[in-house]
Symmetry: C2
Subunit: 252 residues, 2 copies
């Protein structure tokens, strides 16, 4: 029995997220179907995170325990021949039996893209949230800096989530950049509550349009009240861009 670590890249537009569901197509189902055809056995693939419908991934990691003699460097070609164009396996590696794509993550990076111009951009409709009104980028940038730290993230969690255990997360790094009419929010944290990045982005937009002040973040974190934060930004702007693991070696 091998433990294969697969790295994927996918356009989530046509899927109901990563996780298998009844009556709706998901990325996990597509990958499991392709893999089971290649290794000729039924398989379960463990993903590094659940992503929502319409959310994308440039580097998504999953693992699976299978019996196979297909070499690591041939596996992506075998799988890509069976996968649709919107899902691509970029690498396969045999890893120690104990490796678990979800439980062993130490950090994940997401990028959220905002398209800030009067009219929609046909090329980014599925990859960015179109926000047509003026935004004070500098105010957003100042607010963004206060998101770094280790704190209870309840204010940035979707109402009605069933998080078990602590809601404290460590946000290691954030970055807000502007390139033409596109604003990108990058965040690296050890974990995320449900819809956390999208609510943070909605909150930064509220700062940008003046509904919230540039120094509101510490107060929001302190108050722990979801209703005080901004709206949940649209799913298609979100993309999982990198995953780090406990052992340096597992990250390759």
């Amino acid at each position: 029995m091998e433990n294969l670590k697969l790295t994927l890249c996918y356009d989530g537009s046509e899927y109901h997220g990563w996780q298998r569901q009844e009556n709706a197509m998901t990325v996990q189902q597509r990958v499991e179907e392709a893999l089971s055809r290649v290794v000729k056995q039924s398989v379960t693939v463990l993903g590094c995170s659940r992503t929502d419908a319409g959310v994308h991934a440039r580097e998504y990691v999953c693992n699976t325990h299978v019996i196979t003699s297909v070499p690591d460097d041939k596996m992506p070609y075998a799988l890509n021949a069976l996968l649709p164009d919107d899902i691509c396996v970029t690498s396969c590696r045999r890893v120690p039996h104990e490796f678990h794509a979800r439980f062993d993550t130490v950090a994940k990076e997401y990028c959220y893209t905002l398209c800030n111009q009067p009219h929609k951009d046909p090329f980014s409709v599925k990859y960015a949230w179109h926000y047509p009104y003026a935004l004070d980028f500098e105010a957003m940038k100042r607010a963004c800096e206060d998101l770094v730290g280790t704190y209870d993230c309840t204010v940035f969690e979707a109402a009605g989530s069933d998080t078990k255990g602590t809601r404290v997360r460590s946000i290691y790094k954030v970055e807000l950049t502007k390139e033409g009419n596109f604003i990108r929010f990058r965040i690296c944290a050890n974990g995320y509550l449900y819809n956390m990045v999208r609510i943070m982005m909605g909150t930064l937009v509220s700062v940008g349009n003046g509904k919230l002040s540039a120094d509101c973040i510490p107060m929001l974190i302190e108050r722990k009240d979801r209703r005080l934060a901004g709206i949940t930004a649209a799913p298609q702007g979100l993309c999982l861009t990198k995953v780090w693991y406990k052992k340096e070696d597992w990250c390759r």
Copy 2:
């Protein structure tokens, strides 16, 4: 009667090109349908060029003679409310009656994008030609420079084209750049023969993979034989990026 100059941006993936056709959806048909609903009369929109199925445009210009009292700055909003997400009107301007979007062009710029990596990139499947083999970028760049000039472009014209008149075109500027795994070919010319940019790109790829030498271009131009050039690169990599007109004022 007003003469409206409309500037569009469109993702051509779902269309059979610009020009109206029986039994196939085109960009022209979508724009005419939206405009005729706004101005409540049947309209014909004259485009700056025919684009092929799957080809995109970041800046496409067309004009139309209509009776309307909708102000120029309101027209894009009125049209975009009726157009699908993959077509966007970015500006509308009343221009002199004699302006013709096609006949009055003096130059057009196209950009062709190549994705040069082993596996497909799910995010650029519809916007780039995926070429998985090694390419000598420096050789391509050297060959590319020889494309500038005024000459008979027959070697870069699709077989069986029914071009009337001269096949001499002036290529003012070319540029080949590399950013990560993406190679971009930009070309600005006073006119183009059928499939010209795609055949030029296919020829540069033949230089990159060694089938043609880096100094082959002058010979190819001289020989005027389509069979000596490279293949016609896939349509989805092509995008019309800019159009210039006779009078400076019409370009705005």
